[in-house]
Symmetry: D2
C-alpha cells in the first residue's frame, strides 16, 4: 500500500522501517534531515511537506510529541488536509488527549477522510522489534481495514471502541503505571529503612497481592530486577518527563469529565518534584530517589 509517515522520532523511525520491510511503498516527512536520509537510504521517498505527502498516498500515519504538533501537521497551510485526497485513511499514533482526536477526526470527515487514533505501548524496543501494542479507536470496519498495516509494526492490535478510545486506554493504563511506580518506590524505600532486604521484599511482593509490573518487571530499587533501569542508574527506559506528560493528559481528561483523580494528581506532583531536582531525563522509576539517598 502507498503509505505516508510523518514524524520520524525515536519511535517513528523504527516503525517506518518496519513498514518498508513489510513491502509497503513509503513516503516520509520530518523536519530533521538526518532521519529522513536514514529512511530514504532504506528505500523510502521523501516529501517536501505534509501536504505534498498527503497528495500521493492512500494512508497517512502520524507519530508526533504533542497535540499541537499534530494540529500543525494536519491543519497548517502546508498540512495534510490541504493536500489529502478524499477517501484517505489517517492513523495518528501520537499520545494526545481524546478531545483533540475527536476534533481532528471531525475535520477529516469534512474532507471525506477517516482518522483513527492508535497510540502505542512497548517503547523503542518494541518499535524496533515490531512488537508494539496498538490501541485503536475507530469503528469496527476501519479497524479491520487497518489491522494488516499495523501488524507490520506491532503484535497486539486492540480495538478499543470509537474514535478517541485508543487514547483513553493509553491514558488510563499510564495513569495506573505512574501511581503503581510511585507506590512501589514508597514501599520499597520504607521496607529498606525498616531493615528488610530489598530482594527478599521484592520477592514477597511479587508473589503476593502487591504484585504489579512496576514491582516484578521494573522494580525501582536497584538490584531487585537485574534488567530494570534501576539496575543501570535509571538510564534508558521511559523518562520521568514523559510520565509527567502522560499524567498531565490524564489530569486534563479527568477535568473534562469532572472526575476526581486524587492519586494521579499526587503522583504527578511527585514526578514533578523529581524533575525539579534534575531527574527529568532519567527513567521514571528514579522517583524512588525522592524517598532515599541513592
Amino acid at each position: 500500500m502507498k503509505i505516508g509517515f510523518i514524524g520520524l522520532g525515536n519511535m517513528g523511525a523504527p516503525m517506518a522501517l518496519n513498514l518498508l520491510k513489510a513491502g509497503h511503498s513509503l513516503t516520509v516527512f520530518d523536519l530533521n534531515d538526518n532521519v529522513v536520509r536514514l529512511l530514504t537510504d532504506a528505500g523510502a521517498k521523501s516529501a517536501g511537506s505534509p501536504r505534498a505527502l498527503a497528495s500521493e498516498v492512500e494512508l497517512v500515519m502520524t507519530m508526533l510529541p504533542e497535540a499541537s504538533h499534530v494540529r500543525g501537521v494536519l491543519t497548517g497551510s502546508d498540512g495534510v488536509f490541504a493536500g489529502v485526497r478524499q477517501g484517505t485513511t489517517l492513523i495518528d499514533s501520537s499520545t494526545i488527549d481524546p478531545a483533540s482526536v475527536r476534533e481532528f477526526s471531525a475535520l477529516a470527515a469534512q474532507r471525506g477522510c477517516t482518522l483513527v487514533d492508535a497510540p502505542v505501548s512497548g517503547g523503542t524496543g518494541g518499535a524496533a522489534a515490531g512488537t508494539l501494542t496498538f490501541m485503536v479507536g475507530g469503528n469496527r470496519a476501519d479497524y479491520d481495514r487497518m489491522r494488516p498495516v499495523l501488524s507490520a509494526m506491532g503484535r497486539n492490535i486492540v480495538h478499543c471502541g470509537d474514535t478517541g478510545t485508543g487514547q483513553v486506554a493509553k491514558i488510563c493504563n499510564n495513569l495506573i503505571l505512574g501511581i503503581t511506580m510511585a507506590g512501589v518506590a514508597e514501599a520499597m524505600a520504607l521496607g529498606d529503612a525498616l531493615g528488610i532486604d530489598a530482594k527478599i521484599l521484592g520477592g514477597i511482593i511479587n508473589t503476593s497481592t502487591g504484585r504489579c509490573w512496576s514491582s516484578d518487571t521494573y522494580n525501582p530499587f536497584p538490584g531487585v530486577i537485574g534488567t530494570a533501569p534501576s539496575s543501570r542508574r535509571y538510564t534508558g527506559g521511559f523518562g520521568t518527563d514523559l510520565m509527567l506528560k502522560d499524567l498531565g493528559l490524564a489530569a486534563r481528561a479527568a477535568k473534562s469529565v469532572r472526575q476526581p483523580a486524587f492519586m494521579g494528581a499526587l503522583a504527578q506532583q511527585l514526578y514533578q518534584a523529581a524533575s525539579a531536582r534534575g531527574d527529568g531525563n532519567l527513567d521514571f522509576s528514579a522517583i524512588i530517589r525522592l524517598y532515599r539517598k541513592a
Copy 2:
C-alpha cells in the same frame, strides 16, 4: 508437638483446625466460648487463661486483631509470660507494628524464650485451605525449626530476616495493595466516564504496564473479573476497615523512621472517606464508589 493457640477468630479458628489435622496436640484459648467449643469438639483441649495454656505447651501461637491485644495476652497478670516455661517458642501471626514485635521479642528473651513474627496473607480462604503465606521474622535457626509447624497451615513459608521483618514485609505489601487498588479504581472510573468499555479497558491494562493484582485478579469495576468482590456487590473479601488498619500501621512505621509515605497517606484518607460514607464493611475495592455512582 504440644501447641497452644490463642485467638480463634475468622483466621485463627481454621488455622488451629489445620494444626489438629496435622496431628499436633492442641490447647486453645479465646474469650468466645463458641469458637472454643468448635475446637474442643474437634479434639483440642481448652485452657482457662493464656497463663495456664503457656504452662502446658512447647509452642504458643497468637493470632489477634491489634498490638494492644497481643500485649494483654502476653504481659497481663494471667498472661503467657506469667506461665511460660523457659525454652518455649512463641509465634505471633497477628498483623501489628514491627516496633511492638521487637519489644515483645525482648520480653520473651528475658524469660529464656524465643518470639518470632509470622503474619500471613491469603485471607480466610487460604486459612481454611491451609495455603496461607507466612512471612517470618527471626533468626535462621528458629525459622528452620518452625517451618514444619507453619507448613501445616500454609504453603509458602518465607524467611524475611530478623525479628520484625515479617511485619515489615506484610506492611509494605499491603501499602502497595492499598495504593494500587485506589489507582485502579481511579483509572477504571475515569476510562468509563471517557467512554471506553470497562472490560476492554481491563483487558488492555492486564496485558500492559498497568497490570497488577488489583486489576487482573480483584478489579474494582463490576463485571471485569467475574470472581472478584466487585462482581458480587463488594461482599466478602478484605474489608475497607481492615485496609485502613494496615495503612495505619504503614503510616506509623514510616513515621518511626521519618520516611515520607505520600501515596499511602492519601490512599488512607480515601479509604477513610469510604468508611465514613458507610462502606467500612465492604471489600476494600468498594473504594471505586468514591469515583462513580455505583
Copy 3:
C-alpha cells in the same frame, strides 16, 4: 479618555459603568446584546467588532473568561490587532496564565502598542462599588500612566512587576485561598465531629495561629460568620468551578517552571470532587460538604 471595553460579563459590566461615571468616553463590545444595551443606555457607544472598537480608542480594556477568548478577541480576523492604532494601550483584566500574557504582550509590541495584565480581586461586589484591587504587570511608566484609569474602577492599584506578574500575584493568592478554604473546611468538620461547638472553635481559630480569611471572613461552617455564603446555603460568592479554573492555572504555571504544587493539586481534586457531586455552581466554601452531611 477614549476607552474601549470588551467583555461585559458579571465583572466587566459594572467595571465599564464605573468608567462612564468617571467621565470617560466609552465604546463597548460584547456578543450579548442585552448587556451592550445596558451600557449604551448609560451613555456608551457600541462597536460592531473588536477591530472597529480598537480603531476608535486610545485604550482597550478586556475582561474575558479564558485565555482562548482573549486570543480570539485580539488576534482574530475581526480582532483588536486588525484595527488597533500604533501607540494604543491595552489592559487585560482577565485571569489567565502568565505565559499567554507575555505572548499577547509581544504581539502588541509588534504593532507599536503596549499590553499590560491587570487581573482583579474583590468579586462582583467590588466591581459594582469600584473598590477592586488591580494587580498590574508592566513597566513602571505604563503603570503610572494607567493608574488614574484603573482608579475609576478600583481602590488598590498594585504594581507587581513586569508583564505577567499581575497574573502571577493573582494565581498565587488564589492558590493559597483554595488551600486554606479546604483546610478550614477539614478542620471545622473534624472539630464538629469531635464534639466542639463550631462557633467556639471558629472564635479560637480566628484569634490564634490558624486565623485566615477563609476562617474569619468566609468560614465554611454554617452559622460561624453570619455574612458568609455558608450562612445562606452557599449561594452567591465565588463559585467552586471558578476556583477550579484558578487552581488549574496555578497547576499549569507550576508545571511551566517545574515547581511541585502538592497542596494545590490535592485541593484541586477536592474541588473537582465537589463539582462532580453537583456543587460546581455553589460558593467554593461548599467544599465542606465533602466532609460532613450538610
Copy 4:
C-alpha cells in the same frame, strides 16, 4: 493556693515561675534536677515523686510531651493517682489526643477528683510573658474555678466545652496552621519561580483573600516578614517535629471519628519529608525548603 506542677520543660518552667510570682505555694516535680533547682531557687518546694506531690496540694498541673508521659505520671505506682486526695483538681496542659484526656478524666472521677484539659498556644515567649492562651475543656463550674489560677499564666482563658474539647480546639487550630504554612510556602516559592518579587507578593496576599497568620506574621519566604524565623535561618519558633506531632494527633483524632483529613495527611507527609532531610529541629516554616533551594 497549694499547687503542684509536674513537667518543667521549655514551656512548663516559665509557667511554674509565673504561678510563684502570683503568690501561689508551689511544689514541683521533674526528672531533670537542673530545672527543679531553678524553681526551688525561686521559692518552690520539690517533691520526690508525683505521688508525694499529689498528697500535698489542692491542684495538680501537668505539662508533658506526650500522652504516654501523662499516663505514666498519673497512673504509675508512684504516680499522682496513688497519692491524690479526694476533691483535688487536675489540669493537664499537655497537647495530647482527646480520647486519652477523657480516659484520664474518668480515672480521676473514680478517685473523687476532677481533671480538665487546658492545652496552650503562644509558645515559649507567651509562657515567659504570661500571655498564653488556654483552651479549657471541662464543665462550666470547673472552668470558672480554675480561671483565676490560669490567669496567672495566660491572657486568654477560653472555655471550649466538655472534657477533651480543649484538645480538640488546639488540634483543629494546628491542623489549619500546618496546612496554611505548607500552602503559603508552595505559593511563595511558585511566585518567586515565576518572577514576582517575594515582598510584593507577600504584600498583595496579606491584603487579599490569601491572608493568614502563616503569611502575614510568619511568612516562610526569607525577608518578607523581618521578625519571622524565615528571616533568621529558621531558628527559634515552632519546630518541624512538633508540627509533625500535632498533625499526627489530628490524624488519629480524625481516624477515631472516621473523618477524612486529606489536606492534613498530605501536609503531614511534607513535614515528614522535611524532617527526613534533616530539618526536624528548624522552625516548621522551613518546609519551604522542599520547594526551593534556600
